[in-house]
Amino acid sequence: MNTSVAVSHHHGPASGISRWLFTTNHKDIGTLYLWFSFLMFLTGGCMALLIRAELFQPGLQLIQPDFFNQMTTMHGLIMVFGAVMPAFVGLANWMIPLMVGAPDMALPRMNNWSFWILPFAFAMMISTLFMDGGAPNFGWTFYAPLSTTYAPPSVTFFIFAVHMMGISSIMGAINIIATILNLRAPGMTMMKLPLFVWTWLITAFLLIAVMPVLAGVVTMMLMDIHFGTSFFDAAGGGDPVLFQHVFWFFGHPEVYIMILPAFGIVSEIIPTFARKKLFGYASMVYATASIAVLSFVVWAHHMFTVGLPLAGELFFMFATMLIAVPTGVKVFNWVATMFRGSMTFETPMLFALAFVVLFTIGGFSGLMLAIAPVDFQYHDTYFVVAHFHYVLVPGAVFAIMAGAYYWLPKWCGNYYNETMGKVHFWCNFIGVNITFFPMHFIGLAGMPRRIPDYALQFADFNAIATVGAFIFGFSQLIFLYNVISCIRNSKPASDRVWEGSHGLEWTVASPAPYHSFSEPPQVK
């Protein structure tokens, strides 16, 4: 592997398809990641709409239960590994070198490789839909033995796809860490790093710590399925619950991998539009780090009903509740940043404000779920579905949208259409709440998750949720149109872009030149 920085000062991008296939430019690769994740977002979204359409009314109308399970599984996997994670990596690729004053990512060729693995991984995963026996149908958490002894034959392809995604993520994380640690401009000390860079640094360490564990657990599955071992099979001395422990040892930090960069984006945007410095920068960094550390000791709160001993339940309950403290600090800091600021409400700010409110609601339901005795009632119901969609959709996805609108003028050199952006925001905001808020109610009232059909008392809220999902889903087309018209022709953006913007990324021209910071800037 060549680890040198391919710095070529004199030529611009190659032309045609080869520009994208062989590019080592962080901006090109960032763009590829972002388009790829948007494509996956639409694909996973279509699956979600199919799920919601089936759940519009009680009874089976559109799809059969087995295909419904394939849809929930693929929706989860695609959204987690195909939409949210690559979107954050794309933003990291674009922005981290610009924010730390580096000419490119530390390992540009590996960067190309980590992106181009992804389309193959997802092509393989989506191709399972057309295989005999269908796609994986055991949920994105793929609990054994449903995913081993009882899995469709396509599970092997699923395992390889997960391996490939894991390799891609690990390489991406290595690249990001090397860039942040080694390529900072002179004077850019660690405690001067923008929060987006800080949160990504911590996220990258989380990725390196847990993606290999995911690779390990799918490898064990592979061995159980094809090589006769019994890691998860009680008959041979294994234990299906072990699967859950290993999976959630990966899975819980994974949840924070999907939210920490979002914290970073929001911490960039709120100060810009409040025209006021971020409140409590240092405590933000410490809070992020402590959330990351705590994420390793809370995994069994996903397993309160598997029959843990009392002491185990108590430990994981307390540890989980503790996470509320640093998360609370973050929310308070954001609010304190807005307090006595001078706020304007452009689209990125609207998304960021919605993020703060709706993510906090997701945090509250998370706190409720942490209470082990009550979790016996919540576990595996729509209350959980509502909770994690609140932290992932108006959490992670809104933050990505906010970041996209925020940096789009810097990327394209043009302003997007502000009115259209606001329409997109309000459709999203209303759609998301109509979709996911009623899920709290049906979950509390007793509807289990992952069922294709339900009892009559859940009918009304399910119908409402479906309407919301379609509003949310189709409003993404507004975003797509806005982005395309912003790239093509629009109002040229200034270098600063926003009145209150701050940081190195705003010192380069708009659009950001193909090669930036070839000479490192001096940071005071």
Partner: protein, 369 residues
């Protein structure tokens, strides 16, 4: 039932305008534990609401008053150690206040001692088996909602998808202990009104308990994704007063004897075909489908299959003992001798299969011994 309205005024409007069955909160339940859980849930909910009101209140205040369009000028503070320590310590204290009652309830839930009745619950794809330990009672409980209702060909009943052929019956006012395990994949046994949810794991045994004082019917569902028909394996618990429970026990035992006797009488092909179709629809249709053609690549068809058309021996064997490494279960204990004989006969003579032979209940009864 107390309704607590969370959230949006718009939804609130809907909620009151619609029918009474519109539930928006955890059920209070019918056991001491379920009520404690409900109270805990409400306490934490209101704490969250209070915190939310303060945080969102300050935020809303800023959004309204500290906006540039009103001429607000940005202040320059960005740190305050005292404030930062306060909003780290105060939440911590609130958390401790939450943890204390939660711990007490959890300890109570883990007190499995001194049960008066033990019931072994085994999860199957996609039904439940209930065995009353120490009594000779052992039966399966599966969804009784007709397929037509699920496929929208008939009007859905009141307890659509929450009704079973044989409910679990327990005595009122007695501590009942459940021993949970599974036969194939992981299931989870959940009845919200009892606040009992526990995973049923193949090869391992878990326990849970309940004391229900009020006789009544309480409904729940499997809560862990367990394959295709995960959404179609409900739980119904019927709580009866002790005297009624004893009568039920006697009745079930009598019925078992009657079934054994029934197997000995002689059956005609037509009778077996009629019973067989009923049994097929209940036990086989989910996988092998109504037309007997199965789902290609997943579940094999029975129409024109060599097993259904060949010698009855292997056919009987596969139905009674299942087939290793596939989803085909052993139906020996799940069905009575009459049902087994009928369904095998049916499979050999339906959808154009015309073997014409007759597998008698007596023959099966002998094999079942």
């Amino acid at each position: 039932m107390i309704k607590t309205i969370l959230g949006f005024p718009a939804l609130l409007l809907f909620a009151t305008a619609s029918q009474a069955a519109w539930e928006v909160n955890l059920p209070r339940g019918v056991t001491e534990v379920s009520r404690e859980i409900y109270d805990l849930h409400m306490t934490i909910f209101w704490i969250c609401v209070a915190i939310g009101v303060v945080v969102f209140g300050v935020m809303l205040w800023s959004v309204i008053y500290h906006r540039k369009s009103r001429g607000a000028k940005a202040h320059n503070f960005h740190e305050n150690v005292l404030v930062e320590i306060a909003w780290t310590v105060v939440p911590f204290i609130i958390l401790i206040a939450m943890a204390v009652p939660a711990t007490a309830t959890l300890i109570k839930m883990y007190d499995n001692t001194e049960a008066e009745l033990d019931i072994q619950i085994t999860g199957y794809q996609w039904k439940w088996r209930y065995q009353y330990l120490g009594e000779e009672i052992d039966f399966f409980s599966s969804l009784s909602t007709p397929r037509d209702q699920i496929n929208n060909a008939a009007v859905k009943g009141e307890h659509y998808l929450l009704e079973v052929d044989n409910p679990l019956v327990i005595p009122a006012g007695k501590k009942v202990r459940f021993l949970l395990t599974a036969n194939d994949v992981i299931h989870s046994w959940w009845v919200p009104d009892l606040a009992v949810k526990k995973d049923a794991i193949p090869g391992f045994i878990n326990e849970a308990w309940t004391i229900v004082n009020e006789p009544g019917v309480y409904r729940g569902q499997c809560a862990e994704l367990c394959g295709k028909d995960h959404g179609f394996m409900p739980i119904v618990v019927e709580v009866k007063a002790q005297a009624d429970f004893d009568a039920w026990l006697a009745e079930v035992k009598q019925a078992d004897q009657d079934k054994a006797a029934e197997a000995q009488k002689s059956w005609t092909l037509a009778e077996l075909m009629e019973t067989g179709e009923e049994v097929y629809n209940k036990a086989c249709l989910a996988c092998h489908q109504a037309n007997g053609e199965g789902i290609p690549g997943v579940f094999p068809g029975l129409k024109n299959s060599p097993i259904a058309l060949g010698d009855p021996g292997p056919h009987i064997d596969v139905v009674l003992n299942g087939k290793q490494g596939t989803a085909m279960q052993a139906f020996r204990d799940q069905l009575t001798a009459v049902e087994l004989a009928a369904v095998i006969t049916y499979e050999r003579n339906a959808w154009g299969n015309k073997v014409g032979d007759l597998v008698t209940p007596a023959q099966i009864a002998e094999l079942k011994e």
